[in-house]
């Protein structure tokens, strides 16, 4: 049996590496998408979740003298850049998507708001925002910054400079945020490591799932070409051949995983902070799971055309719900519950634990165990339901 399995693995790897263009595509697609997402999300993480470039906020007012204390504060803000324009111009620029937010400050706003502060009977001046609905994240951040400045001016105007709590020196307490990643514990870098490591792990898993679909399609093509009939005429159990296919697909998946993660380390310098043995275990069980998933796909499909579309959809749903694109923690609670039924979730969470959460080998075992259960399930269905003949 072992000789047959080894012969199948050798033949499959020879076929895989013979088509160099296909090998390159199988590596470049996940690597390219991961690099793109790492650039986008990595730069946001590096700035503490805020956009890496400052948000332009348009300010329109008729009383420029009154605006001076507000501008003084707003110009100190980390996330926004203030640009003074007319109200008409503000509307036009937001409408054209050139700025996410504009604020229209009415005449006598600071005095009116100061009078109304603590007096519910006084008339309240109206501050008008013009916002681009497609840029809600930037709008939220900018509004927060602007409102902090406005309240500081109002309080200072009403009670004096000592009560302006938006000024660092007036704050009665200090704050410190500690992110619980291994990087932080070791006093090293930032959230960027976690984001990039997650992106590369997730997209590498997606890459090997698509590789598994390709393997399944190849197997179905072999059936169509009569190759499997020749194999069933040989004095071997056909299941040995399928087991060989699982192992060869595992080796191919490990190769893709290794290259993609290595690419991430070399290009973005993210660090593996957990157990290396644990990471190796996660890579192996993830590769084994996707390889048996490939067999499962080929066993359920009758024709290549029929199976390809359906399995692509299944992989996209699995990677999306499994947290390969975005961390599962961002999902609503009910989606998080569903995602635990998806093997990708266990693969990505296990990889996260070993790459940036700095966990020990023992932490990888539950993830690896669940992935092995999925492997056994997929393989059992694949080995028993596989159709050898086109008849």
């Amino acid at each position: 049996m072992l000789k047959v399995i080894l012969a199948v693995v050798r033949k499959d790897l020879l076929q895989y590496f013979t088509d160099r263009r296909a090998v390159l595509i199988s590596l470049m697609v996940p690597l390219g998408i991961a690099c793109f997402m790492a650039v986008i999300f990595g730069s946001q993480s590096a700035s503490g979740g805020k956009p890496s470039t400052k948000i332009t906020v348009l300010v329109a007012t008729k009383n420029k003298a009154e605006l001076a204390p507000l501008l003084e504060r707003w110009n100190k803000a980390e996330s926004v850049t203030i640009k003074q324009v007319s109200e008409q111009e503000a509307k036009a620029q937001v409408n054209a998507g050139q700025a996410p937010l504009a604020i229209i400050v009415p005449d006598g706003f600071v005095v009116g708001a100061s009078n109304a502060f603590g007096d519910s009977t006084a008339a309240k001046p109206e501050l008008k925002f013009i916002a681009d609905p497609t840029k809600s994240l930037e709008v939220g951040i900018a509004k927060g910054e602007l409102m902090g400045g406005i309240m500081g001016v109002i309080v200072e105007n009403k009670y004096g400079k000592a009560f302006a709590l938006d000024q660092k020196e007036n704050s009665p307490y200090t704050t410190k945020t500690e992110d619980l990643s291994a990087e932080k514990q070791q006093g090293a870098a930032d959230d960027r490591n976690a984001t990039i490591a997650h992106v590369f792990a997730g997209l590498a898993i997606q890459g090997i799932l698509f590789g598994a679909i390709e393997s399944a399609m190849l197997l179905m093509r072999d059936r169509q070409k009569g190759l499997l009939k020749r194999l069933t005429a040989a004095p071997i159990s056909p299941r040995w051949f399928l087991m060989g296919r699982i192992f060869s697909s595992t080796v191919k998946a490990l190769f893709v995983l290794g290259v993609v993660l290595m690419g991430g380390i070399l290009i973005f310098h993210f660090k593996i902070t957990g157990s290396l043995v644990g990471l190796a275990l996660m890579l192996f069980t993830s590769a084994l799971m996707t390889a048996s998933f490939g067999l499962f796909v080929s066993a359920l499909g009758r024709t290549e055309a029929q199976s390809r579309g359906l399995s692509t959809l299944v992989v996209l749903i699995m990677t999306m719900l499994g947290g390969a694109w975005f961390p599962a923690s961002m999902f609503p609670d009910w989606v998080q519950v569903i995602s635990k039924c998806i093997p990708v979730r266990w693969a990505v969470d296990g990889m996260d634990a070993m790459t940036w959460r700095g966990q020990e080998l023992a932490a990888a075992l539950p993830f690896a165990g669940v992935l092995l259960l999925f492997t056994v399930g997929f393989a059992a269905i694949g080995l028993t339901r596989f159709r050898w003949d086109t008849e």
């Binding site: 076929q15 020749r230 003949d389």
Partner: protein, 305 residues
């Protein structure tokens, strides 16, 4: 060597093979002839153990044949109808892979030998996708020869092959048979089976309709000879009417008239006497009945209908 007894196979409601029985002797070149859909491939699949018969038995050298009879499977070389090869690999890599499934010792030498047998020794390192159709077919056969099978089973091995490659394949198979290998050859080309096979089974609609040597099978036809009369110009209508009265199955095409006669000598004498002075007869030819005629007689349709 091989015997089939009342073998049947159904796929759902469709009966692919029904109650087929025949025997193949050691060293024989046995032909399985029939049109597409006759049940030849299904019968072969049961013989080589890729399909399990629903009923009946298949015995190879006294042992029951079935999908898990690995000992018996290793005695058979199977050439499927499709060119079942990995086209992105070289000829040698294909042979190495399939050979390793049979646990062969000294595989490289064996690969070189079979490549030589099919005339592809100088293409060992070339990828199969660059081969012509005929070369692929020859390599398809080489794969089946790797493990020195006692019985070689070929399922329409010349489909889509040019005449030169076809003759090369025939020469190889005839040599193998001369060397003592038992061969079962299926085809819907009666000329191939007539050339190669010493005994023939004819199948149609999943049933065996005739089996024996070509002489045995020809006896199934009524004792009639086919007479082809060639005229210098199309014969006159009154003459054709006269011939038609005596030979109701007469066929006339331009200058050639074909009739079936019971007694060659008597009928030729009668025909020439009737034609004297009425038509310019250029030639008379008596044709031997073919397997096609037998098939037509037994089923009412042609082999390639």
């Amino acid at each position: 060597m091989l015997s089939l007894r009342s073998v049947s196979k159904k796929f759902g409601a469709r009966t692919a093979v029904s109650d087929v029985s025949f025997e193949v002797q050691c060293g024989e070149f046995f032909g399985l002839l029939g049109p597409n859909g006759a049940g030849k491939t299904t019968t072969l699949s049961m013989i080589v153990g890729t399909l399990l018969a629903d009923s009946g038995s298949i015995n190879l050298e006294g042992a029951q044949m079935n999908p898990s009879a690995f000992g018996e499977k290793s005695k058979i070389g199977f050439v499927p109808q499709e060119t079942a090869l990995y086209e992105d690999l070289s000829a040698n890599a294909n042979l190495q892979f399939f050979g390793s499934l049979y646990g062969l010792q000294s595989l490289p030498e064996r690969c070189a030998t079979v490549l030589r047998q099919v005339g592809l020794e100088d293409r060992a390192a070339d990828r199969v996708e660059n081969f012509s159709g005929g070369m692929k077919r020859r390599l398809n056969i080489a794969v089946a020869l790797l493990h020195h099978p006692k019985l070689l089973v070929l399922d329409e091995p010349t489909v889509g092959v040019d005449p030169q490659s076809r003759n090369q394949i025939f020469d190889t198979l005839e040599q193998l048979n001369r060397d003592g290998m038992t061969i079962i050859y299926t085809s819907h080309y009666m000329e191939e089976v007539e050339r190669l096979c010493s005994r023939i089974a004819i199948m149609d609609g999943g049933k065996l309709i005739a089996c024996g040597t070509k002489a045995d099978i020809s006896k199934l036809l009524p004792d009639l000879n086919l007479l082809a009369l060639t005229f210098a110009e199309p014969p006159p209508a009154d003459l054709l009417a006269l011939l038609l009265l005596k030979y109701p199955d007469l066929k006339a095409e331009e200058t050639v008239v074909t009739v079936q006669v019971a007694n060659l000598e008597v009928d030729v004498a009668w025909i020439t006497s009737q034609l004297a002075g009425k038509a310019n007869l250029k030639a008379i030819r008596s044709d031997e009945s073919s397997l096609e005629d037998v098939f037509l007689h037994l089923t009412g349709k042609g082999l390639r209908d």
